[in-house]
Symmetry: C2
Subunit: 334 residues, 2 copies
DNA sequence: TGGTTATAGTAAAACGTTTTACTACACCAA
DNA sequence: TTGGTGTAGTAAAACGTTTTACTATAACCA
């Protein structure tokens, strides 16, 4: 049962392929096709269930109505939620999203970009990693819209949407200080992206501004793709060996490992020991006591990404790149 | 900066397009192209960075090396994790995955299937919903491999991989009974798929086999896409109005809502009140006390799905459909 | 009347591949 | 010399669209 082609429709309707194509693409009026023919052809299309072959279409037009979305790890709830929101919004505007995970591997990211490129996606939404700057520049020079989100790359001039990581981090520390905390730790990762360094800088700056000393002993940088057991041991070490009364986790999965440690070593969260986690997670609300978190405005981020993208797609001329920074929200729970 | 085509390579190498194509596709030997020419062409390809246009390739060959994955909701951690595992495994075998969420809407599912069809994906992995039986039969009659997972459709003869939901549910209730529980509730959804009805049947059968009465008052069926507030109120009602000493949640998101209720009404989980949740979630391990769960073997499911799929893809003849049922594991935590 | 304009539509090239059927030549055996 | 076989390679069709440039007829008008 081979699929119907535009040719079959043309034969059935006894008109030319061109005419059918014009009708399908809503150009019938401007190409002066008569009402009668339009109706006849549309009827045949409906009855036969003909669907244009998108591959052929893409080959001819060079675009696909598909947007490629590249994230670090689709199984991380932050990315899964953002992906889902973006998918919904794009879908409503007639675009499909295809997504894939980089696993923080430069190689895989490059391969994905290449795959998307050879499949002629119309635009890219990327949560980037260091090392793919050159690839992104290539996309830009192909005149394809690119939006980075969550993480920015310092030395590429491109659209970016993300939360204000510096401020969020700064506020968290401030809030610890207001509670009278003196020994505030930071558990972060060693991924070298702006978003992570900003969180780090916010931590440092807030400490200094509050008259507290910054001490390297209180900062733990976890290697980004080691197994969880190692992570847990390192955090355990930190908690056991340092006098700490508060800790900021720079990502939600680090916080989850951290909470596991606290459970294991039976350290209670409360007035003696406070925790704030970056990026909310179901587990934090449910936790007893509730875990305070920095919530990124997922909905806003997704909406802004899509809006920027569609602007670019519908504009003939290249629009200036924008950097949109959206405030994050500190949610205090207990 | 237009992309290079096979023609450009042919000109540069001073050979025909055909020759280049044979070399790219590893058919040079069998088509008796000389070693010298092969080397020359390969060198030019490497130096110029030429990448074949996959769209043109798909148009010509009718396939794409892409597998379409359709799930209910990619932001649900069960699906996100499965998707990620499948993606990894497919990737290693040279296939790309593109995924999309149905949101439990028949219409959206059909549109997605259509989109994948017109993009000529080579195979489908679908966590189906009732109402798309006909669409799946269409795919099968197109001779495209289809694997259902997580949920089966009773009246379509197709490959299926899933956990043993009946047994898992049965065992959970058994374990409650062993603990001396008498009033065991079930919170489930009203989605009409085998996997959910099996969980329900396991619950019922186990009660009867243990000599406990089955009572409709103890079963709450939540409408599948209502907002969480309503769900929480309904569960609160159940917990407040019925004498219950144990509850099985049929999905992880229901369990999360349920745990929120328990927190709100300050009901402690312990010897008086036991909980088991279907499908593990980070929040359950972290919860105090830990929440017992039924773990589906994600890794096994993903591996089996991919294996079945690749068998079909590489076989010339149509293989018989298989139904693979994988045992789930009851994890008792406290 | 002839020239312009509008209406209604079509033929054919192009997008970048893969693949079938072919050519051209050399070599060898009978 | 003929014919067969192997080697090395190519021309051209095909996949299913979109789009440009074209034709043919009717209508209008001065």
């Amino acid at each position: 049962m081979k699929a119907l082609s535009i040719k079959d429709i043309a034969i059935k309707a006894n008109v030319s392929i061109t005419t059918v194509s014009f009708i399908i693409n809503g150009k019938a009026k401007e190409k002066s096709i008569s009402e009668a023919v339009i109706e006849k052809v549309e009827k045949i299309i409906k009855e036969s269930g003909y669907k244009p072959n998108q591959i052929a279409r893409s080959l001819r037009t060079g675009n696909s109505n598909i947007i490629g979305l590249i994230v670090e790890d689709i199984s991380n709830s932050f990315f899964a939620k953002i992906a889902r929101l973006i998918e919904d919004k794009a879908y409503k505007r007639g675009y499909k999203i295809i997504y894939s995970s980089t696993e923080n591997s430069v190689e895989k990211a490059q391969e994905l970009i290449n795959m998307f490129k050879t499949r002629k996606v119309d635009a890219y939404i990327i949560s980037p990693i260091k090392g793919i700057e050159e690839d992104i520049r290539m996309l830009l020079s192909d005149d394809k819209p690119v939006i980075l989100f969550d993480r920015n790359l310092a030395d590429v001039n491109v659209n970016y949407v993300g939360a204000n990581h510096f401020n969020a981090s700064y506020q968290s520390i401030e809030s610890f200080v207001e509670q009278g905390k003196k020994n505030i730790a930071l558990v972060t990762t060693d991924i070298d992206v702006e978003q992570i360094t900003e969180r780090f800088d916010g931590y440092k700056k807030a400490l200094l501004d509050s008259g507290l000393a910054y001490s390297e002993e209180l900062v733990l940088k976890i290697h980004f793709n080691q197994d969880e057991e190692t992570t847990i041991n390192q955090i355990k070490n930190l908690f056991n060996n340092q006098k700490i009364d508060a800790v900021l986790f720079a990502t939600n999965y680090l916080a989850i490992s951290g909470l596991k440690v606290l459970k294991q070593i039976k350290k209670e969260i409360g007035s003696e020991f406070s925790v704030i986690a970056y990026d909310d997670h179901e587990a934090f609300e449910l936790h007893t006591p509730g875990i305070s978190t920095i919530q990124q405005p997922l909905e806003d981020i997704a909406e802004t990404v899509i809006k920027l993208l569609l602007n670019q797609l519908s504009s003939k001329t290249k629009l200036p790149n924008q950097q949109v920074i959206i405030p994050a929200k500190l949610i205090i729970r207990d």
